[in-house]
Symmetry: C2
Subunit: 242 residues, 2 copies
């Protein structure tokens, strides 16, 4: 029984990693939607489970602990009517292929969305700020290499990124650490800085480097709006959209 | 199959009415949580369906159109593991009793949460700004009357509130209309202004009247955090918590 099923496709959000990042992502979907009233907005189901084990630590330890709860969440979202899936957590994309293998619903990839945004900017090499796990898993390197050269963080820069991420997860600001990390990347020749952990755009906020940063969370949100609206025109079953 | 079920109770959010208000509510839950890392945060499942028919119009027309999709959403949230429910939409509480009658999961009532916040402020009569439907349905009047006297809006004030609400739903600011409405309430002797439509706290933002306003969305978010954390200590089955 389904009353008033929307013409727009429903996004399923595997979230809570962290919870503030999920809220930021949902807000960016709302902001990216060409709406004049409630009913124009993208329908969503969200599974926000902050208790999923730390993704970066799991990647570095060669541990697939986060995969089982992510699969649970994927099942919840499918049963709740999600037509396609998005994960506002960069590190969790380490398990993207295995999650995609378990569902017919397309799972948008945050690095594909970000690579499109990087291509559109064309500002020279891009400095990658993320968790250590995202870098170790190579989530961005191959996908970005066609769009731009990549500068990886040195150890002091990574430590600053870690501090900014931890601050946001604990409800603090993180901006000074993020600015210091971004500044080091720009000094090393980055034309722009990719904020490839979903806590980092929150830390960036009104940073003085905001116009030099590229936000994969926003890129993924824009891709979700396009998918939801595009599906309205060409709705032929989720399994046909890859 | 459930991996790593959290010790905290899971809030189910009947949302999308409107979508920006749901994001605001989720952000207030995150902000109200005493967390030092992801895993301390409140687990949530969110059903955001902006296509639910306009609640205020339905109340004024004596039409129960929103009830069927709300019941659909309630079922989705129960199957997704929600231990208790919250609706970040004041007008939708017109159907609170009928929704509560269909689930063992407690549905927190936004006006109960707001009444507690009003009692704590004790600033004299409270000016009620909301949709016309919320006032016609009497969602606040009985619950607030023990906490404070109530000043209802006159027609020009209601028209300003309507304009502020519509602006936020269309992705605009709404602050000037909200400030004008709140100013009229304060001139008429209100000690504080209750922003009893979930779009209104968004419009209030950094308004010059912000310190005179009481935000039921925030009060409901705080009640959800207390419920999620309190349930951790006394978890005995959702049906025993009213």
């Amino acid at each position: 029984m389904e009353h008033g099923a929307p013409a727009l496709l429903t996004v399923g959000v595997l979230g809570g990693m962290g919870p503030a990042a999920t809220v930021d992502f949902l807000g960016k979907i709302v902001g990216a939607t060409p709406a004049s009233c409630d009913q124009d907005h993208v329908p969503a189901v969200v599974w926000s489970r902050p208790q999923i084990p730390d993704r970066s630590r799991a990647i570095l330890a060669g541990d697939d602990g986060p995969l089982a709860p992510l699969l649970d969440g994927l099942g919840v979202l499918e049963r709740a009517g999600a037509d396609f899936i998005a994960m506002p957590c960069n590190s969790a994309h380490h398990w993207h292929a295995r999650l995609q293998g378990r569902t017919r619903a397309p799972i948008l990839h945050i690095a594909d969305a970000a690579a499109a945004a990087v291509s559109a900017r064309a500002l020279g090499p891009v400095g990658l700020l993320s968790t250590r796990g995202t870098i170790a898993a190579g989530i961005y390197q191959a996908r970005l290499s066609k769009a731009a050269g990549i500068i990886l963080p040195d150890e002091p820069t990574q430590a600053l990124a870690d501090a900014a991420i931890a601050a946001v997860k604990a409800g603090r600001c993180g901006r000074s650490a993020l600015e210091a990390a971004a500044g080091r990347m720009l000094e090393r020749g980055a034309g722009s800085v990719l904020l490839a952990c979903t806590e980092l755009p929150i830390a960036a906020g009104r940073s003085r480097f905001a116009d030099r940063c590229i936000d994969p969370t926003l890129a993924l949100a824009q891709a979700c709006v396009a998918m939801s609206y595009g599906g309205r025109l060409t709705r032929t079953g989720a399994g046909t959209r890859a």
